[in-house]
């Protein structure tokens, strides 16, 4: 999910298929990724040595800062604050966007009426929404999370609207004949059909959301990775900026590997065993 714009960051992307075909096959992509990342570090180190500058620290220096920040506890405090905002904004955006998207996908008239709104919101720059949210609702947590969610909601709406249009009416009719309750309909009829769309919205969602969260923190919060980056920007401390960035990228990778992919594997288990 953090791989919104750089496909290389997901070692699990290809491991997805190979985990089932033996440990050796599963190890290969992991090995490739490790070597690839080590190569990048080496290149970075060489470049930093070739052009020594405070504005371009090498990997060892960034590592030292990372250890220092971790030891003082600052790193985890700010990572935690950002992660909390990402999670909250993600939940709000997914729930609100899904509900709106499914409604628009199910009711043609509503869709025709509200489609211009969707397009409008899709095209409002993130920065404008953030600034307006802070002006209208004050420099507080609700405004911050709300602004991030509002930035993401139109994307979720568009994806989930596609999903709702693709719903198979035969399943709904079966559920009607057998008198499924509303909860069962959502759990066993609606969500499984929407799962690929939810997964797509989630993936592009988290990548976008965490980047916007940094901007929100930079503009109006007093903790979080974005706040720290702004602080070290004023101090011109590139090593610390990189340390926080890489730490957060690592956190998002772990979330992807330990949370998103297992959930997706579970949700699509019925597809894995063709007749």
């Amino acid at each position: 999910m953090t791989a919104g714009d750089t496909g290389d960051r997901t070692p699990g992307g290809s491991a997805d298929i190979s985990t089932r075909s033996g440990p050796a096959a599963a190890l290969m992509p992991a090995l490739t990724v490790t070597i690839s990342l080590l190569g990048l570090c080496l290149l970075w180190s060489l470049a930093a040595n070739a052009w020594p500058s405070r504005a371009f620290p090498g990997p060892e220096e960034v590592w030292q800062v990372l250890l220092r920040e971790a030891a003082s506890g600052d790193l985890f405090y700010h990572l935690g604050a950002t992660l909390g905002r990402v999670a909250a904004a993600y939940l709000v955006a997914m729930i609100a966007g899904s509900v709106i998207g499914i409604l628009l996908g199910s009711y043609r008239g509503a869709d025709r009426f509200f489609n211009p709104w969707v397009i409008l919101f899709l095209n409002i720059p993130a920065l404008v929404i953030i600034v307006l949210a802070y002006i209208w609702f004050g420099l507080n947590e609700v405004a911050a999370i709300g602004a991030v969610a509002v930035n993401k909601i139109p994307n979720v709406v568009v994806t989930m609207r596609e999903g709702a249009r693709a719903l198979d009416p035969r399943y709904a009719e079966m559920a009607a004949v057998y008198r499924f309750g509303p909860l069962d309909r959502v759990r066993h009829i609606l969500l499984p059909q929407l799962q690929p769309y939810l997964a797509a919205a989630s993936r592009s969602g988290i990548a976008l959301i965490w980047k916007i969260v940094l901007v929100v923190e930079l503009l109006g919060r007093s903790n979080g990775v974005g706040f720290q980056i702004y602080l070290y920007f004023q101090l011109f401390d590139v090593a610390a900026i990189l340390a926080y960035t890489l730490a957060f990228v690592a956190v998002m990778l772990v979330v992807e590997l330990l949370l998103v992919q297992p959930v997706e594997r579970h949700a699509t288990r019925w597809r894995r065993r063709p007749a």
Partner: protein, 246 residues
């Protein structure tokens, strides 16, 4: 849940059902269609392809409310209806057993289904996903789902089409077996006369579109006596009553 007392049969009285396409073309599928199915009776709706059989079932299932006329469902036992659709319509993301249990009302969700699965030859398939089943097995799972709910009335829409002859024959026998274990008012749609003669108590013969009842053919011979020879006799007598209907 055995039927109790004098039961109200399934009574259908559809004055008209017309489809209107977006281009303004209208197709009258049903016109003055009325018939009854008696309590505990297995009836077949027999009619040529495209005459409006599925349309009739959809109305009775409550899936299509745009029609004029009325119908009445049996008011005994569970009040529930069950359907076996023209396609199995199992949820691909749930196992066979989950598919069956999900269709059950809350108080029956945990009931023992061993006997039902065994009688349909599905015992080893309970934990499979529908994509892992052949069409014949998927149809059996759809039958299991319908019978598990212990419905007051059961609707079947050509449940054996696009199966090879032997599989269809085997499924007909399975259907009869589970149905005989708990005779349920049933209405099955088919355009296969031999199938109707093997399975049903009475055949409701429909005219081509717009569908209305041409006549009723009662099959009074008990099912266990319907040998191939006897079915041949029934076939001849049917053709005498309804010349021109195949």
């Amino acid at each position: 849940m055995q039927p109790v007392g004098a039961a109200v049969p399934l009574r259908v009285d559809i004055a008209e059902k017309t489809f209107r396409s977006a281009q303004g073309v209208s197709v009258t599928a049903l016109k003055n269609l009325s018939f009854e199915v008696r309590q505990g009776e297995f009836a077949c709706l027999l009619g040529p392809s495209g005459c409006g059989k599925t349309t009739t079932l959809r109305i009775l299932l409550g899936l299509d409310k745009q029609f004029s006329g009325s119908f009445q469902l049996p008011e005994v036992g569970s009040h529930r209806i069950a359907a076996v659709f023209q396609e199995p319509t199992l949820l691909p993301w749930r196992t066979v057993e989950q598919n069956v249990r999900l269709a059950l009302p809350k108080d029956l969700r945990t009931k023992n289904l061993d006997g039902l699965f065994a009688s349909l030859g599905l015992t080893g398939m309970r934990s499979l996903y529908p994509a892992e089943l052949s069409l014949g097995l998927a149809r059996r799972a759809a039958l299991a789902r319908a019978f598990a709910t212990e419905p007051a009335v059961l609707f079947l829409d050509e449940p054996f089409v696009s199966l090879d002859g032997r599989t269809a024959e085997q499924l007909r026998r399975l259907l009869l077996a589970v149905w005989s274990a708990r005779p349920t008012t049933a209405l099955m749609v088919t355009h296969n006369l031999t199938e109707a003669l093997t399975l049903s108590d009475r055949i409701i013969v429909l005219a081509p579109r717009p569908a209305h009842v041409l006549g009723i053919f009662d099959v009074s011979l008990p099912r266990q006596h319907r040998s191939p020879d006897a079915t041949g006799d029934l076939l001849r007598s049917f053709h005498q009553t309804f010349p021109g209907v195949t």
